[in-house]
C-alpha cells in the first residue's frame, strides 16, 4: 500500500461539529497517527456510539459502524473476534462510555481484545443540548440541573486503573502532538487501550480557559508498569495529568480464543459428523 498522508485518511464529509469543538483535534491527531502507522484503510474499522463524537466514523477513510448509545465496546469486540486482522478503533463520548455504556468497560478489560478506545470527554451531553454528564463537576448548572448537579463526577482514569485496563492514558484535544503520540502507542499496544481525551464542548460547557493551568504531563520518572503510582497520579486533585498512566501487556482476547480453538483440536475441517456420534 502506498503511504497515505493524514489528509488522505480524511473523507470529504464535513463534520457536523461546532467550530472550535475539541473533536476536530481528535480527528486530526487520529489521521496523523494512522498515517505514521501506515494503517491500510481496508483493514481499518471505526466503531462509535451515540453523541457528537459518535459521528466520527464516516469522516475517516475506513469501514465504519455507527451503532447505538453505549454499546460500542461489545460491538467492537464482535468485529475484532470475527476478524483479528482488522485494526479496530472505538470512539464515543463520556455519556456513552461512563453512563449508559459503563457496564461494558470492566468486561472489555477482562477480555483485553486489541481495540483502541478513544473517549472524547467534555463533561456534558452536547447533542441533547448541555445536560451534565458523569464527568461534569458537582454543582454544574444545566437545563436538567437548574439548582446544580448533586452527583459528584467519576474519575475515568482511576476507574480504568481499578478495572486493570492494560493501557490507560489521558490527553487533551488542544495538545495535538501529544495526543497523536498516545494514539500511536495505543495502536501499537497488544490488548485493550483506553484514552480519555479531554475534548471541550465550546457550546455547552466551554472549559478552554479553565483547563490549561491545571494540565501537567505525567512525570518522566513515572514507571508505566506501576499501577499503584498511577492511581496516585490519577487521584491528584490539584492537577490533571496527561500522558500514559499505565501499560501492562498480557495475553489478548484474540490470542486466548486461538488457544481455545487449538485445545479443542480444531482441524479446520468441519467435523459435524463426528459431533453427532456423541448422541448415538
Amino acid at each position: 500500500m502506498p503511504k497515505m498522508t493524514a489528509a488522505q485518511y480524511k473523507t470529504k464529509i464535513e463534520p457536523v461539529w461546532c467550530p472550535g469543538c475539541g473533536d476536530f483535534g481528535v480527528l486530526n491527531a487520529l489521521c496523523n497517527a494512522l498515517s505514521v502507522k501506515e494503517v491500510d484503510p481496508k483493514n481499518l474499522v471505526f466503531a462509535s456510539g451515540i453523541g457528537c463524537s459518535g459521528r466520527l466514523p464516516p469522516y475517516v477513510q475506513a469501514y465504519g459502524f455507527h451503532t447505538v448509545h453505549g454499546r460500542v465496546l461489545p460491538i467492537s469486540t464482535g468485529i475484532k473476534v470475527a476478524n483479528p486482522d482488522l485494526t479496530v478503533v472505538a470512539v464515543g463520548g463520556d455519556g456513552d462510555a461512563f453512563a449508559i455504556g459503563g457496564g461494558h468497560i470492566p468486561h472489555m478489560s477482562r477480555r483485553n481484545p486489541s481495540v483502541v478506545y478513544i473517549v472524547m470527554d467534555n463533561g456534558t451531553y452536547g447533542l441533547t443540548k448541555g445536560q451534565a454528564s458523569p464527568t461534569g463537576p458537582l454543582g454544574m448548572k444545566t437545563g436538567a440541573s437548574p439548582y446544580g448537579t448533586i452527583e459528584p463526577p467519576l474519575n475515568p482514569i482511576a476507574m480504568a486503573l481499578a478495572y486493570d485496563i492494560s493501557f490507560v492514558a489521558r490527553a487533551y484535544s488542544g495538545k495535538n502532538k501529544e495526543l497523536e503520540a498516545l494514539i500511536l502507542k495505543a495502536l501499537n499496544h497488544r490488548g485493550f487501550s483506553f484514552i480519555d481525551v479531554i475534548s471541550p464542548c465550546i457550546t455547552y460547557y466551554n472549559t478552554y480557559k479553565q483547563l490549561p493551568p491545571l494540565l501537567a504531563p505525567v512525570p518522566d520518572t513515572h514507571d508505566v508498569k506501576d499501577r499503584v503510582k498511577a492511581f496516585e497520579l490519577a487521584l491528584k486533585e490539584d492537577k490533571i495529568y496527561l500522558g500514559l498512566f499505565y501499560q501492562n501487556e498480557r495475553p489478548t482476547f484474540e490470542e486466548r480464543i486461538r488457544s481455545v480453538v487449538d485445545q479443542s483440536e480444531a482441524s479446520g475441517i468441519p467435523r459435524l459428523d463426528e459431533i453427532f456420534l456423541d448422541f448415538a
Binding site: 464482535g78 473476534v81 470475527a82 482488522l86 468441519p270 453427532f276
Partner: protein
C-alpha cells in the same frame, strides 16, 4: 406396535431426572423411538421433579402422549401429583419404604423398597435410582447391559469402586423383582434390532443446526432455558474454528453478534424472554444496518421473571413487533427436535440471503425435551451466503443500493473499495446520513419489501390430515407434533379435520393460509400456549374478505405445560358438533 409412556417423579436434586434420562438413552440404544417431557423446579435442590418418556418400537413419536402407562413414584408427593394421570390398568411402581398408596383396584401396584435395598444391600442411599432402573429393566424388558454401558460411560471417571456399587444396585433391583413380584401387566419395551437412534434435546439439535449452517461467532448470557445452547456451543463450536463468548449481559451478546456479522461472520445469540427484552434496541439496529443475525428466543412463562422452568408461547407478538419505529424482521417457529436442526439452517440462510435479523422461537418444552431422530445427512445440506459486491459494484459502491429484490450487495471490512459506515441513523442508498422524508419513505419500504421474498420459500407451511377439511387446526411452533397426532386420531374417528402449521410466523404467510381456508373450512381451532391467543388474533387480522365468516377459535392456555393429543381431539369434536 408398542407405544408406552413412563413417568418418573420424586424429590428434586435426588437424581429423578438422571434416572429418567438413563432409561431414555437405554431405550434409544435399543433401537426404540423416544420422546421425553420434563418438569422441574427452578431451584437446584428440593421441590418436585418429573420426567416422562414415551417409548415406541416403530412409529415416529409426535407428542408427549396422554396418560401414563407406568408411574415410577419415588415419594408420596409424586404419587399424589401424578396418580390421577396414570391410565386405568396402568402400573404404579413405588418405593414402599417411603409411602403406601391408597388401596384401589384401578391400577396394578408393584411395591419395591428402593431406599431399603440401597441402604441395606449397597450401603449408599442414592443408588436407589440404580435399584429402580434394575427393577424396570426386569419388569419391562430394557436390557440390563444397556444400563451398564451407560453407567460405565457416566461414572467411569469416578473409579471402579463407584462403578461396582452402581452395578450391584442395578442387579439388586432386578433380583428383588424376580424374587418378590409377579408381573401382571403386558407392558414390554424390548430392543427392536434396528440401528440405535440419535437422542437429542431441542437445544442440542438447534446448536448442531447452527454449526451445520456455518455459525462462527456465538455470544450469549446464561438464562434458563437457553443456557444449554451456550454450554453446548462452548464445547463444540471451537472444534470447527468458531468462537463462543459469554458476555456481561444480553445487550452485549447481540452487540457482539452484530459486530461479528458486520465483519463478515455468521453469528448468533440465544436467550429467553427477559434477555430478549434487553436485546430489542440492538434488534432495531440490525434491521436498520441490514445485518444478518440469528436470535433464538427459548420462550418461558412470563412476564418478568415469570416461571423460568415452564413453557409458554407468549413472545410471538414481541418477536414480530418489538422495537421502536418500524423494524421488519423474520420470525420462525421451531416445531420439533428434528426441526430444530433444519430450522436453524433455514434461519441462517434467510439471515444471510436477506441481510436481516431472524428471530427463532423455541420454548422451554422443546428446548429441554429429547427425541430420537435419524442422523442428518450433512452432505446434502444447502448453506447460503450473503450477497457480496462484484468488482463493478465496488467501482461506485453503494451499500444500501435498491435492487429489484431490494437486497443490496454487502461489503465487509478487508475488502478494497467497499468502504461504508453502517449506521442506526437513517441513510441514503450510499449510506450517507439523511433526514429527508422522501428518503426515509424509500428506505423504510426497501427494508420491508426485501422480506417478501421469504414467503416464496417452499417450506413455509406444512399441512396434515384431510386436504380439504371443514375444521382446520392451525397452531405454531412446538405444537406441531401434538396437533398432528390429534388430527390423525380425529380423522380415524371420522372427523373432517386437517391441520396447517406455519414455520414462518413473520412476514405472515397470509396468502397460503387464506388459500387453504378458502377450500371450505368453516371453523379454525388455534391451540397455543398463551392467555390472549396471540396467533389467533394475527390470523383474524389477515383473513381475506371471503374468509371473514370463518370462526377462529382460540384454544389458549397459559398453564406452563404443553397440550396433550386428547385435549385437542376434544376441541376438534366440539367444533365439529357445531358444524354438523
Amino acid at each position: 406396535m408398542s407405544d408406552f409412556l413412563f413417568r418418573f417423579g420424586g424429590e428434586g436434586g435426588e437424581g429423578v431426572i438422571s434416572t429418567g434420562e438413563l432409561f431414555t438413552t437405554a431405550c434409544a440404544r435399543s433401537g426404540l423411538e423416544i420422546y421425553t417431557f420434563r418438569s422441574y423446579p427452578a431451584e437446584i435442590k428440593g421441590g418436585h421433579a418429573m420426567i416422562q418418556v414415551r417409548v415406541a418400537d416403530s412409529n415416529v413419536l409426535l407428542s408427549r402422549g396422554d396418560r401414563a402407562d407406568v408411574l415410577v413414584a419415588f415419594n408420596k408427593e409424586s404419587y399424589d401429583r401424578h396418580y390421577k394421570e396414570l391410565k386405568d390398568g396402568g402400573v404404579l411402581v413405588f418405593d414402599n419404604t417411603d409411602f403406601l398408596p391408597d388401596d384401589d383396584t384401578r391400577t396394578l401396584k408393584y411395591p419395591i423398597p428402593f431406599n431399603k435395598i440401597a441402604m441395606e444391600e449397597i450401603g449408599v442411599r442414592l443408588t436407589k435410582n440404580m435399584v429402580s432402573l434394575g427393577a424396570l429393566s426386569e419388569l419391562f424388558g430394557v436390557p440390563q447391559d444397556k444400563f451398564k454401558e451407560l453407567i460405565r460411560e457416566k461414572f467411569s471417571k469416578k473409579g471402579e469402586a463407584v462403578l461396582e456399587k452402581n452395578f450391584q444396585a442395578l442387579a439388586a433391583g432386578a433380583k428383588y423383582v424376580r424374587e418378590n413380584l409377579k408381573k401382571e401387566d403386558k407392558i414390554r419395551v424390548e430392543p427392536t434390532g434396528r440401528q440405535p437412534r440419535l437422542v437429542l434435546s431441542g437445544n442440542e439439535a438447534l446448536s448442531l443446526g447452527a454449526i451445520a449452517a456455518g455459525l462462527k461467532v456465538y455470544a450469549g448470557y446464561p438464562i434458563t432455558p437457553a443456557s444449554t445452547i451456550l454450554e453446548f456451543l462452548a464445547k463444540e463450536l471451537p472444534k470447527v474454528g468458531g468462537v463462543v463468548i459469554q458476555t456481561e449481559d444480553e445487550i452485549a451478546a447481540l452487540g457482539t453478534v452484530l459486530g461479528a456479522s458486520f465483519a463478515g461472520k455468521k453469528a448468533m445469540t440465544a436467550t429467553s424472554g427477559p434477555g430478549f427484552s434487553l436485546m430489542i434496541e440492538m434488534l432495531g439496529l440490525a434491521v436498520m444496518a441490514e445485518l444478518p443475525a440469528v436470535i433464538v428466543n427459548a420462550q418461558r412463562a412470563g412476564p418478568s421473571t415469570g416461571m423460568p422452568t415452564k413453557m409458554e408461547q407468549a413472545d410471538l407478538m414481541m418477536a414480530i413487533y418489538a422495537g421502536h419505529g418500524e423494524a421488519p424482521r423474520v420470525v420462525l417457529g421451531l416445531t420439533s427436535v428434528e426441526d430444530c436442526f433444519y430450522g436453524m439452517i433455514r434461519a441462517f440462510n434467510i439471515a444471510e440471503t436477506y441481510q436481516t435479523p431472524v428471530v427463532v422461537l423455541t420454548d422451554q418444552g422443546l428446548a429441554q425435551r429429547e427425541a430420537s431422530i435419524t442422523k442428518p445427512d450433512v452432505t446434502g445440506i444447502e448453506v447460503l451466503e450473503r450477497r457480496k459486491p462484484t468488482v463493478e459494484e465496488l467501482a461506485n459502491y453503494e451499500r444500501f443500493r435498491i435492487t429489484p429484490d431490494n437486497v443490496s450487495p454487502m461489503s465487509v471490512p478487508g475488502m478494497p473499495d467497499g468502504f461504508y459506515s453502517a449506521t442506526g441513523i437513517e441513510h441514503t442508498e450510499a449510506g450517507a446520513l439523511n433526514y429527508e422524508p422522501a428518503n426515509h419513505n424509500k428506505m423504510i419500504a426497501k427494508r420491508a419489501n426485501k422480506l417478501q421474498g421469504v414467503l416464496k420459500l417452499p417450506w413455509i407451511v406444512k399441512t396434515y390430515g384431510l386436504e380439504k377439511p371443514e375444521v382446520a387446526v392451525i397452531g405454531w411452533g412446538s405444537g406441531e407434533g401434538v396437533i398432528r397426532e390429534a388430527v390423525d386420531k380425529a380423522n380415524k374417528a371420522g372427523f373432517k379435520v386437517g391441520a396447517l402449521h406455519p414455520k414462518i410466523l413473520w412476514p405472515f404467510p397470509a396468502e397460503i393460509i387464506n388459500k387453504y381456508l378458502a377450500q371450505g373450512v368453516k371453523r379454525v381451532i388455534v391451540p397455543e400456549l398463551n392467555y390472549s391467543g396471540q396467533f389467533a388474533s394475527l390470523l383474524k387480522q389477515h383473513l381475506t374478505n371471503g374468509n371473514r365468516s370463518i370462526d377462529v377459535v382460540p384454544m389458549a392456555k397459559a398453564g406452563g405445560i404443553p397440550w396433550t393429543p386428547d385435549e385437542i381431539v376434544a376441541e376438534i369434536k366440539e367444533a365439529s358438533k357445531i358444524h354438523a
